[in-house]
Structures are given as structure tokens and as C-alpha cells.
Subunit: 361 residues, 2 copies
Amino acid sequence: MRRPPERRVVLADVARLAGTSEATASRALKHDPRIGETTRAAVHAAAAKLGYVPNAAARSLRAKRTHILGLLLDDLADPVHAKVAAGFEEAAASQGYAVFIMTGLHDPAREQRALTAFVEHRADGIVVASCVSDPADVLSRVPADHVIFVQPDYPALAGGADVPARGVLRTDDAAGVAATVRHLVERGYRRITYVGPGSWSSNAWRLTAATAAMKELGQGPINFIDVAVDAWRDASAVALTLTADPPDAVLCYDDKLALGLLDALRSTNLVVPDDLAVVGFDGIPAARQSWPRLTTVDVPSVDVGRRAVEMLMASVREGRNPISEVMPVRLVVGDSTPPRAARAARRSTRETVAASKGSGS
Amino acid sequence: MRRPPERRVVLADVARLAGTSEATASRALKHDPRIGETTRAAVHAAAAKLGYVPNAAARSLRAKRTHILGLLLDDLADPVHAKVAAGFEEAAASQGYAVFIMTGLHDPAREQRALTAFVEHRADGIVVASCVSDPADVLSRVPADHVIFVQPDYPALAGGADVPARGVLRTDDAAGVAATVRHLVERGYRRITYVGPGSWSSNAWRLTAATAAMKELGQGPINFIDVAVDAWRDASAVALTLTADPPDAVLCYDDKLALGLLDALRSTNLVVPDDLAVVGFDGIPAARQSWPRLTTVDVPSVDVGRRAVEMLMASVREGRNPISEVMPVRLVVGDSTPPRAARAARRSTRETVAASKGSGS
DNA sequence: AGCTTCCGCGCAACCGATTGCACAAGTCAC
DNA sequence: GTGACTTGTGCAATCGGTTGCGCGGAAGCT
């Protein structure tokens, strides 16, 4: 069943078969009211018979609209980013847009190339979901009225007042962290340690928010353990540090880190949650299936992707000024942060059963 | 800092500023050896000054090559698919290709629309990583010499002999399942149950492979528990079925299901792995951090994505005939399938400590 | 019959870049 | 001083649709 489509079918072919001009064929295909019913039917029949598919490049060349959206993010293999991409793609597709998805992989050069690709292809809109490049850099190579930033770790943009872009979409990380801290304190935890990649600005934000929340609750400072980004696969170093002087609870930058830590702690004498509470961030699926079930902050990643598309569309249609939006996050309490009283009870039970060593308060 | 780029810069603008014709400017920009050094420098300077970015649509209209690749998959939120996408994007980008990624979300209509979008935009190559549509359907709306199938659940394509497409890339699921079964039998497990979505053909393949492997090892048949696709979030029904008449081990269609089952089993009196061994499939990150650590089959998803691009490229360049490739998978032994002897020992320990109920062999 | 309207359709320009071919200098040889 | 070549550039066609404008003919009106 070899098909011989040496040459793609073009509009001229359809017009010829239908016995009309290209202009008429073009109009007939898009249901221009000026075209008669007979002609329209003939053209559609011809198009169907030939398997005609219009050339988007030619069309957009004239129309100056490509119906393409570009999405730049760090890494598709990361569940959070993948979810943003999923929401983005879903929303875009349902509006009839095709999406270029490109990853920066934390490499500024790659990011620049991706952005250039978007601009070359004249994407109608661009969303930078995450990148290591300075947003100002991004704006210098992209039409400012095309881009929306998601989660920009950039004070100037966070203000949102006069963003040199279509808009900014953030998740309320600070509120999420604050809720977490409040939750921990309410449950009786006092000595809290924060673990995260010190070199990331989003990390700095969360740490700051945590510290502020503690202060507001009249609690002491937060201890910080810096973890190298490429060392995440092995959270055992962190686990080791923790055993030296165990805090009451550990706040992790994200779930991936928290789950790694949970795993690493299993080979120490610190039992979670009996000796140590652990909290994550992001609400990835694995956090719901871990043991103990992780207390974390649910970030509506899919909705973020979806919302970014909506903002873009609204902005394109209404030509509105930069919009700044914040998506709410939600604390999800799991089993990794039980009330401290219950925790103490369980620990003593454990000690009785195991009949081995005990530890200080 | 408002920029007034009312009109995008076009080649004519560059040519005008450089004092040459468009033809010369075009050649100068792509380092045509016929253009003099002086002129070239002038053109490049002008382009840089104006921030000129060539219009890909116009270029490809003429060149008949778009430098675009299309990837169709089920769902970006699924970690396995996301990894394929990640590898695909990475490989494509490094070859200077932009990628359309679109998801079918298990909806044939969406898939058709996605494919149409790829064709409209004249993607140089298309990879169907996964879809629910019949491959024959896919081929009917896509130039056959453009598409590569990944994991086609389609006997006719699996043969690979005269595939009406550029090629087929499969992962060796059958070998993976066989290795798993062998592993279980070696470790003393005999009564094995397979759990998976009965309506998926890839599921049927795996079940068949498992049954065949059991037979080859001189073992009895495999029990099958069908699980509805949309019920995965709640594996408790499966857990319940298992408690009624517990097998020695459970083979799950994939890790997601296995992890859900692990979680659901925690609220039953069946302890994994003491009473029941559990095996997954795919090797998603969460499987390494579960407790107990899941025995699973590592599928090189990222490599699959990467390889698909390479196949496409090779095929485009060399105009070769359909290629069929199979990627090897690897059994990863975790803690969910300990040797049965050790398992029995641990169980008795547990029974002694808990001093409660016991169960038959 | 003559004139206005309306309907259906085609001509040709246009979008922005690429490229075959030809033309204008400049160099060298005879 | 004229012809053969080399070098550097420009003209114009081309890719595949879209669209402003105008034209021919049928219908409606006086």
C-alpha cells in the first residue's frame, strides 16, 4: 500500500479539481459567506479527495499570526515542570494553538537558543515557566508584549507594577511556607531546620518566608542546611548532619528532597516522624504514597500552566496591560508531622518494644 | 523603558541600513562565500543593531524544510511519558530542531487534531510516542515517511518487516517481564498474580509475556486482576481482592500502580514484603524511594526519546528504509522481593514481637 | 428597455526570505 | 585595447496561501 505523494497537495490542486480559482477555493474552505453553496461543496469535496492540508507557514506569513505558543522551562523530567507543561499544552490545544516546548536544562545558552527559536517561528505568545537567565535578558531578545513569566525569581518583576512583559504568574510560596511553619509550631515543634539549595533564589524566598513566619509566631530562628543541587540524589549527607544535632522538624525545599531525605534517614537511628518531622513542598504524587505520608504544600502546577495560557489569551485579545497574578497553594497534612505529643507517645512505645537505646528531649 | 517595535524588523530593513539588496543581505547573513568581507560585516552590524530575527515561516516556505519535529504522547503529567519527552526535546534541540509536543490524553479526537497540527506546520518528522488511535489511522493523515512509532501496541507494526512508516522503536517489555518472573521464581515465589488495566493492549503483552515465562520455568498459571484505568488512584480495591486469597507475589503493570498498591496494603493485614512480594515496571524515581524499595524494571525512557530523534534524523538524511529497533530494559531488584526464606524468617520475627495473629503458609 | 443592486467569483498584490541567473567592475593575458 | 575570468551584487521568480478590489451577470425596480 505505497502512496506516491511525491509532492504535497497545495491549494492550487484543490482549485483545479474543483474548477475554481485559488481565491475562491481558499474562501470556500474557510466558509466565507460570499461563496455559493454549490461551489463550496465542490471545493470541500476536492480538498477531501486530495487530502489537502493547508500549509501553516504560508498562512501565517500572510496573517501575521501563527497560532503557536512557546513554553520554556527547566526540565521536563522534573514532575513539577512536567505538570506545568501538561496544563499549558492542554489549555493551548483546546484553544487551537500548537505548542513549542523547550527546556533550558539550567543552561543559559540553551535558554537563549530556545527563546530565539520561539521568536524565529513567530510564536504568538511565549511563557517562561522557569529559567536561570535574568528576565531582563529574556526580554531583550523577545518582544516584551509576548512573554509571561511564571515564578520569576526576580524582585523587580515580583513587584508587578510595571513589568516589561505581558504579566507575571506566581504561586504563593511564601504563604505556603508560612502555613507549614504555623502547622509545625501548632503541633508543638520548636527547633526547625530548613534544607535547600542555597544557590537558588526561589530557595532564598522560601527560607526568608519561613524565618519571617517563625518570628511572627514568637519563635526562634531557623537553622539552614545548604545542599548542593547536584547532590540531591544522595540526601545521606544531609541525614548525617541531622543526626549530629537533631532538630524537631525539617523543612525541605521540595518533595524530591524530602523523599530523598526520608529514604536516607532510614539508615540512621532517627525515625520519622517519631524523632523528626519532615515537610516537603510541591505536592508531587510520590509524596502521597511515601511512608510516612509526607506533609507538604500542594502547588497547583497543572493549573499554573493552564492559567498562563489564559492570561496570554486574554492579554492578546484585550491588549491589556501587564497582569500579575498569584496562585494560592494549599497545605496538605500527612503523617510526617503528627502532633508532638502523639509523637512522643509513639516513640516511647517503640523504645519499650525494641528495648534498646533512648535519646534526649 | 518602552520599546516601540510596532513592526517586526525584516530583511529589507537590514538591507536598507547596510546599503545593499535583500539578496546580498541574506547571503551575507548565512556566510555565503561569494559575499565580500566588508559587505558581510556591514550586514551583520545592521542586523545586530536592528535586532533582526529571520522569519522561520518565510524561510521554510521556500526551503521546504521547517526544522520542526512533532511529538505526540498520551500525557505529560505521566512521569514515563515526560521522560520520553525530555529525551526527545534534548536531542532535537541539540540538532537545532524545535519541537511541538502535544498530548492525546487518551482521546482519539485530540490525537487527530494534534497530528493535523503537525502536518499543517509541516513538521520535518513526527514521532508518535503513544496513542490510542490505530496506527493505520495515524498513517492515513500523516506522510508515512515522516513518522516513527514508539511502543506501538499493534501486531502488524511489531513485526517490523514492512512498516508503512520510517520505523518503530520498542522497549523490550517482554524480556523485562520475563526477567521479573524468573527473579521471583528464583527467589522461591510460586503463586503469582498479575495486576493491570485489562483494556490496554500493552498490558496484554506484558501479561502474555509473564504467562509464557512461567510456563517456560515449569510453573503454574498466573492469576490476573483487572483494574479499571481510572481507578488507579485507589488501589484499595485491588488490595482487598488480594487479602481474600493472598498470592506469593504481585506483578503490577507499572510502578504507579505498584506504589498505590503498596500504600493501600498498609491498611490491610498483609505486610510487604513479609507476606507478599510486589513488583513494578518502568523504574520511575519514586520507586527508588518507596518503602520497601520497589523491585522494578528500569525502562530507559529518556534514551527512548533521544533514540527516536536519532532514528528520525538518520532516516531523513540517508533516506533509509523503515528501521525497527528494540531498547533493552533492566531488572532492578529492590527490597520488595526478598528471598522467600528470609521473608519467612522476618515474618516469624514480626509475629513474635507483635504476638498477635498468624497466617497459613 | 434601462438602470440599480446584489451575488459569486477571479485578478493580482502581498507576506518575508531564498536563490538561479545575469550583470558590473576589476584583474590578467595577449 | 579587447577578450577571458574572477568577484561581488542585484533583479526577479518562487514558496503557498490570503485578501482588497473590481468585473460580469442575474434579479429587482421604475
